[in-house]
Structure formats: C-alpha cells, structure tokens
Amino acid sequence: MTDHTTGTLGAVPQDTAPDGDRPLVELRGAGKSYGNIRALHGVDLTVHPSRVTCVLGDNGAGKSTLIKIVSGLHQHTEGEFLVDGAPVRFSTPREALDKGIATVYQDLAVVPLMPVWRNFFLGSEMTKGPWPVRRLDIDRMKKTADEELRNMGIVLDDLEQPIGTLSGGQRQCVAIARAVHFGARVLILDEPTAALGVKQSGVVLKYIAMARDRGLGVIFITHNPHHAYMVGDHFSVLRLGTVELSADRSEVSLEELTNHMAGGAELAALKHELAQVRGVDTEELPEEGDLQAPAAATPEGKS
C-alpha cells in the first residue's frame, strides 16, 4: 500500500498480503455521518487471516465509529463494507457475530455480577433436553469454559466467582477466549490495554498474538503505538475521521508511528512557531519532510 492516498475510492490492490488471499473484512472509502457531523469518511481498511491490523488514533479520531460499523452497532453511510468479498450492512451485533466478527469492548465486555462461566457463554448458551424442559448444560459449559481459558493460558480457581472480581486484564482475556471459542474469524479489540497496567497489557498482547496464531484476523484499536508495534502487521493511523497513515510493518518504524500518533505531523508543522516560545523543547521533533514518506499526505476530504 505504498504511497496510496487515503481518498482513493474503489479496489485498492491489497498491500503485501502474504499469500494473496481474500481479505476477511474490507472497508472501501467507508464513512459515517451523524446528522451533519461527519465522524468518519474515506476509510480503507483490510483484515486478513493471521494478521493484526492496528488502528491508531487520538481521542475523537473516529476509531470508535470505525469499530461500531464493523461490529454491527452502527451502519456506514458512505462507501463499501465487505465481508468475504460480499457487501454487507449489519443492523445488530448478532448479525456481525454470525459472520464471525466478534468485538471485545474496552468497558462493556462482561456483566460484572455474573459468574465467569455464565459470562463466557452469555448469548450463546449450551442447552440440553427438549423444549419445555430445555435447560442449561451447566457441567458442559463449565468444562468447556475452563478448557478454553486454559488453552489461552488463563487459569482460574473458581469459575463461579463473579467476573467483576477478576482484574481488568483477566476480564479482557476471558472475553478474547470467548470470542475465539465461538468461532470468531475476525476479532475486534477496542483499546484492550487502555486501562491496564504494564504487565497486564503484556498479557493481553500475548493473547492477541495467540489469537493471530490461531488464524484469526485481528483489528487492534489502540492509542499506544508501542503496544501496536509489538504485535501489528499493518498500521492505520486515523486523524479527524480519516486515514492519515496506512503502512505495513516493513514500511514504518516505531519512531515514525509514534510521531504520527503523537500528532507529530501537526507539531512538526508548528515547529518554527513552537521554537519561538520559551520552555517548549522542539529539538526532538522531526522535520516536517521526514514524516511524509509512507504517509498519506493528502488532507481530508478527497473521498
């Protein structure tokens, strides 16, 4: 995807896709308007199996809107949204789940007061028996939940404990394990490390890598370029509702990514002005020209 500009509509030749396979999920020039507010426009994004696509961006850049479209909570108002090459338009998260797109939300992944195993199977409970006496297959659910959690390397003493008593990282991991178990092919992670400590973030990143190794396509939304660079294969930086940078791992260094994320492009443009102000250290800021390399330099609005 070298030097392709953000606004380009239509089929973009896939970036260095490993074996040229069809993307699981593809957005082409997708956008979303709430009334007269254009939250997102001209976004291209592809998700391949066994690859982690990182979406970075500051607050208000449109990350949440983007995942809400893909996860079925909202519908796009422009552009195309394809799953397995076929255009789709989800009206409920259930439809997205049925297509194998599972979302792990930062804050609403679980119901805190419910036991771990009930949370694990919530919405897709295992049952046994004919209708009037159809009941939960509790033993099988507990056993499966325990196995799946152990497969992901999570060992819990007591699956009956309310999930609210687990740490934030553990909760995210349970949610990821749940998505993997229910046959998710695409896993969307909404800032899974935002509220976590350093060590817990590492644990979550490990599970992201594990999910990727099990063949899932992962969309990893974050505003931490360090976390993104540890597991990412492709990076899209959103700014003001559109893609500012879209680059493969081979085309961008952590430093460049960090600069982009930190609003580096904007700051660089202001470098000379900032230099005039006492107490603002501009030494470390890159020159404006340095940032243009893989970046989609076009300003917004070409879509």
């Binding site: 003493d157 590492g202 490990k206």
Partner: protein, 358 residues
C-alpha cells in the same frame, strides 16, 4: 536499541503459565461464608427470626389454622412479589403492579357481568389486558429509554384513574356487581380461590400456586437461557446486547410476567370476594417491591433470587397476622414493616460485603 527486540511478536516473551491447577491467589472461603453470599440466605434468617419472635409473643400463632392463614396472607403478596423480583433482577421495576391487579379483576368481572358471558371469557380477556399492560410498559421503556420509574408511574396513574372512572361509568358504583351465580364461576373459583384440607386445617390453594410458581421461577432463573438473559440485562444491558442477548425481548417479557402475576392475583381476589372495589390496589406495588428487596434482590438489577422473595413475602404475612394474633393495635403494621425493610436491607448489605470480600 531495544527496537529490534520489541519488533518481535510478543508471544515468546512472557513465560507460559503451564497447566497448573489453580492460580493460587484466591483462598477458598469457608462454606458458611459462601452460603451467606447467596442472596436468599439473609432473608431466610430474618424470616426465621420473625417466626420465632411471634411464636413466643403470640401464642395463637402456634395453632395450625393460624399458620395456614399466615401462609395465605403471604401467598397473595408472594405470587406478585415473584415476577416483580424477576423484573428487578432484570434491572427494572413496575409501580403499576398494584393497580394492575385491580384492573385485571375489574375487566373480568365487568365484562362477564355486563355481557352475561361465561366468566371464563372474562378471565381470558383479563389475561390479555394484563399482558397488554405489561407489553405497553416494556415497549415504552425500550423505545424511549426512559427510566422504568417514570414509565410505570405513568401507567400507575392511568390505570388508577381508568379503574375508578370506567367502573363508575359501567356500573354506576365504585364496586362491581356480584358474579357468584354466573356460569363457570365455580370452576374458576376452584382454580383461583378454593381451599383444601391438610391434617384438619383448611389451606388456601394460592399457597400451592405460590410455591409452584416460586419453584418454576427458580428453575427458569438458574437453569435456563432466559434466566441467564434476565441476570445479564439487569447486570449490564449494553454488554448483554453486544454479545447477542435479545435485550428488548427480555425486558418486555419480564413486564408481561408481572402482567401475568397481576392477572392471577386479580382473579384470586375476584373469585374469593365475588366483587371488586375499583379504588383498591394503590400502595400494594410498594409492598411487592419491598418483599423483593427484603428477599435479597438488588434494586439496581443483576442480582437476586426467586426463593428470597418467598421468604420476603412470608415475613410480610407473618408480621401482618402476627400483630393481630398478638393482640396489638394493627395500626403498627406499617411501622413494623418499615423497620423490617431497613433492617433487611442493612443485613443484606453487611452479609454481602463480608461474604463476597476476597
């Protein structure tokens, strides 16, 4: 620089925990404490305490027939407290539950009497009306996103007014006419308001219905998909929706369940007293809610049981009748209830804090 190492996928860095048995961070709590963490245990102890108290202070309570009377009193509260408790676990409450009972009874009574139909027609139409009230409450709530307090307060006032006005309009009186000599009355009475003898004591059939419904509700709540959804929509509606739980269906059906309860109690009142007073039912909704809360249901939803409200309703029936049997002024009843409610809530709070602390 450490860049090169960072660039590696993180998967090989953290040591794999290995298949150990436990994570060793939680100590298994003693069985007594784990038992106390259950929502119905606090109220069970409370009910036993009230029972023992009245067994000592009011000798007539020891008699079998008074106990049957206490259970009957408890059952009329308890049958409604059950769906109200389920609704509360589902994160909502229904202020119209008290007058909805009267609405249901009035519908059945007036329809059968005025059109001279078999009472069963009235009974069925009353069921439809009660369920419709539930659907209206639930649908309004889901569509508007208003708190259930406001929506059901509106329904409460509407039903209260309609009950009085329509009854006066139709019968010219505040009460309905006696339907005891109409077709099908005896059959209906056998189901809703008969009594049977156990060891020389007359026991009302509502006691049986109450316990059957409680067992059914417990099974549904703990052993079915639907029960799982009830806990989920009360605990965290957004999460539930995001993982595919039909939140709208669950909420509306819970309100319909309250409608069903109101219909059942309404039919009981109609067939045991033959007429209905149109102004009744106001204030009962708070009794049901109180019984559910005393029964360990969390007012904010997501936690509770169906057994708890059974004991909650029993405490109410016990106190109500116990005061009479003890020969005290029954005016004290409500004051007693208030103390009991606060006491129960505090005990529940304390029990949960100590028992769920890690």
């Amino acid at each position: 620089m450490s860049m090169a190492r960072q660039a590696e996928p993180a998967v090989d860095t953290p040591p794999a925990p290995g298949p150990k048995r436990t994570d060793g961070r939680t100590v298994r709590r003693p069985p007594a404490l784990r038992l106390l963490a259950r929502p119905e245990v606090g109220v069970f102890l409370g009910a036993v305490a009230v029972l023992v108290f009245f067994l000592f202070t009011a000798p007539p309570v020891r008699d079998g027939s008074s106990m049957a009377n206490i259970l009957y009193q408890s059952s009329t509260i308890g049958i409604m407290a059950l769906p109200v408790a389920l609704l509360m676990i589902g994160g909502e409450f229904d202020l119209s539950a008290g007058v909805a009972v009267v609405t249901s009874a009035l519908t059945a009574s007036m329809l059968s009497y005025q059109l001279t139909l078999n009472v069963w027609v009235g009974v069925v139409v009353a069921l439809v009306v009660s369920l419709a009230v539930g659907v209206f409450n639930g649908w309004m709530l889901v569509r508007t996103g208003l708190p259930s307090f406001l929506v059901t307060l509106g329904t409460f006032l509407i039903l209260q007014g309609v009950n009085l006005a329509v009854t006066k309009l139709v019968t010219g009186n505040v009460a309905t006419d006696d339907i005891s000599d109409m077709d099908g009355f005896d059959q209906a009475k056998a189901i809703f308001a008969s009594s049977f003898e156990v060891a020389g004591v007359q026991v009302k059939i509502t006691v049986v219905w109450w316990l059957v419904f409680a067992a059914l509700a417990t099974w549904v709540l703990l052993r079915t998909k639907y029960g799982n959804w009830v806990f989920a929509v009360g605990g965290n509606k957004e999460s539930a929706r995001a993982v595919g739980v039909p939140v709208t269906f669950t909420k509306i059906s819970l309100f319909m369940l309250v409608g069903f309860g109101a219909w059942f109690v309404g039919m009981h009142n109609l067939f045991s007293f033959n007429t209905v007073q149109s102004g009744e039912g106001v204030g009962q909704e708070l009794i049901y809610i109180a019984a559910a809360v005393i029964g360990g249901c969390l007012l904010t939803g997501g936690h509770g049981s169906a057994i708890g409200p059974v004991f909650g309703a029993f405490m109410f029936g016990m106190v109500q009748q116990g005061i009479v049997y003890a020969g005290w002024n029954p005016d004290w009843f409500k004051a007693f209830l208030g103390v009991m409610l606060l006491g129960a809530v505090l005990i529940n709070l304390w029990v949960q804090r100590t028992a769920t602390r890690r």
